[in-house]
C-alpha cells in the first residue's frame, strides 16, 4: 500500500481546478481527483434531477427572463442551465400571441408549450435542487485531498 510522504498529502487543501471542473460538468471535478465512483453517482444524481425537471415542467422550467430567482438556483448545474435557457428563449419565438384564436393554431404549431401551475413549479424545483446539490459537490471538490495519482507519485519518488 502506498503511504503519503508529506503532511500535505494527508490533509485537505484547496483544489481550484477540481472545483472549476465540477462547476462545468457535475462530477467532473471528482473524476479529476481520481474518484470515479463518486463522480459517476454525482453525475447520475444531478443529471436525473435535471432531466426529471425538464420532463415534468418542459423546457419552460428553465427561464432566465421570467423566473429570474429560480434560475439563480438552477445555474448551479453549470453551463447546461444557460444552454437550456438559450434554447427556451429561442423556442419562445414560436409562442402564440396573447390574442391568438383557434384560427392561429390551425396554421401555426408552437415549438414548445408554456408550463403552468404544478408542472412549472415542480419542474423548476427539481432543477433548482440539482443546482444546489452541485454547489455542494463543487465545494467538496474544491477543498479536497490531492488527486490520488499525485499522492502515489510522491510516494514512489520522495525527492
Amino acid at each position: 500500500m502506498q503511504t503519503p510522504t508529506t503532511q500535505s498529502d494527508t490533509s485537505e487543501c484547496a483544489q481550484p481546478l477540481a472545483g472549476l471542473f465540477a462547476l462545468v460538468v457535475p462530477g467532473l471535478g471528482h473524476l479529476w481527483l481520481r474518484e470515479p465512483r463518486r463522480a459517476l453517482m454525482i453525475f447520475l444524481g444531478i443529471g436525473t434531477l435535471t432531466l426529471g425537471g425538464l420532463l415534468i415542467g418542459g423546457i419552460d422550467a428553465v427561464d432566465r427572463r421570467e423566473d429570474r430567482w429560480w434560475f439563480v438556483g438552477q445555474a448551479g448545474i453549470g453551463p447546461a442551465a444557460w444552454l437550456l435557457d438559450a434554447w427556451d428563449q429561442h423556442l419562445k419565438k414560436t409562442d402564440p400571441p396573447s390574442n391568438a384564436t383557434g384560427e392561429w393554431f390551425e396554421t401555426h404549431e408552437p415549438a414548445r408549450t408554456k408550463s403552468l401551475a404544478h408542472s412549472n413549479e415542480i419542474g423548476s424545483l427539481w432543477i433548482v435542487i440539482a443546482g444546489m446539490l452541485n454547489v455542494i459537490a463543487v465545494i467538496d471538490a474544491a477543498w479536497h485531498l490531492p488527486p490520488k495519482h499525485k499522492i502515489a507519485r510522491r510516494s514512489e519518488d520522495p525527492s
Binding site: 465512483r37 463518486r38 453517482m41 436525473t48 418542459g58 423546457i59 404544478h118 408542472s119 419542474g123 427539481w126
Partner: protein
C-alpha cells in the same frame, strides 16, 4: 393520463400532464435523486464504498419521504384543527 394525451406529449418541449393525485408520487424519484447526489458528495471513497453508498442512499431517501409525511400531517393538524379552534376561542 389518457393514451391520446400521452401520444401528443413531446418530451421536454411540453410539460407533463398528470392527474391531481399523481403529483404526490413525484416525491419518490425526487428524494432518490437528492440522496444519490448528496451521499456521493459526502461519502469519501473507501473499501466497501458501493455497499455503504447504496445503503446510505436508500436510508436517506426513506428519511426524506418520512419527514415530509410527518410535516404534512403536522401542517394538516394545524390548519384543520388548531387554527379553527383558536379562531373560535378568540371570537368567543
Amino acid at each position: 393520463m389518457s393514451l391520446l394525451l400521452l401520444a401528443a406529449w413531446r418530451p421536454i418541449l411540453d410539460p407533463i400532464s398528470l392527474p391531481g393525485n399523481a403529483w404526490w408520487f413525484t416525491l419518490v424519484p425526487l428524494a432518490l435523486g437528492i440522496a444519490m447526489s448528496y451521499k456521493a458528495s459526502r461519502m469519501t471513497e473507501c473499501p466497501g464504498w458501493w455497499k455503504q453508498y447504496v445503503r446510505g442512499t436508500i436510508i436517506m431517501s426513506v428519511q426524506i419521504i418520512a419527514l415530509l409525511l410527518v410535516l404534512s400531517v403536522g401542517l394538516h393538524l394545524i390548519v384543520e384543527i388548531f387554527a379553527p379552534f383558536v379562531a373560535t376561542e378568540l371570537n368567543g
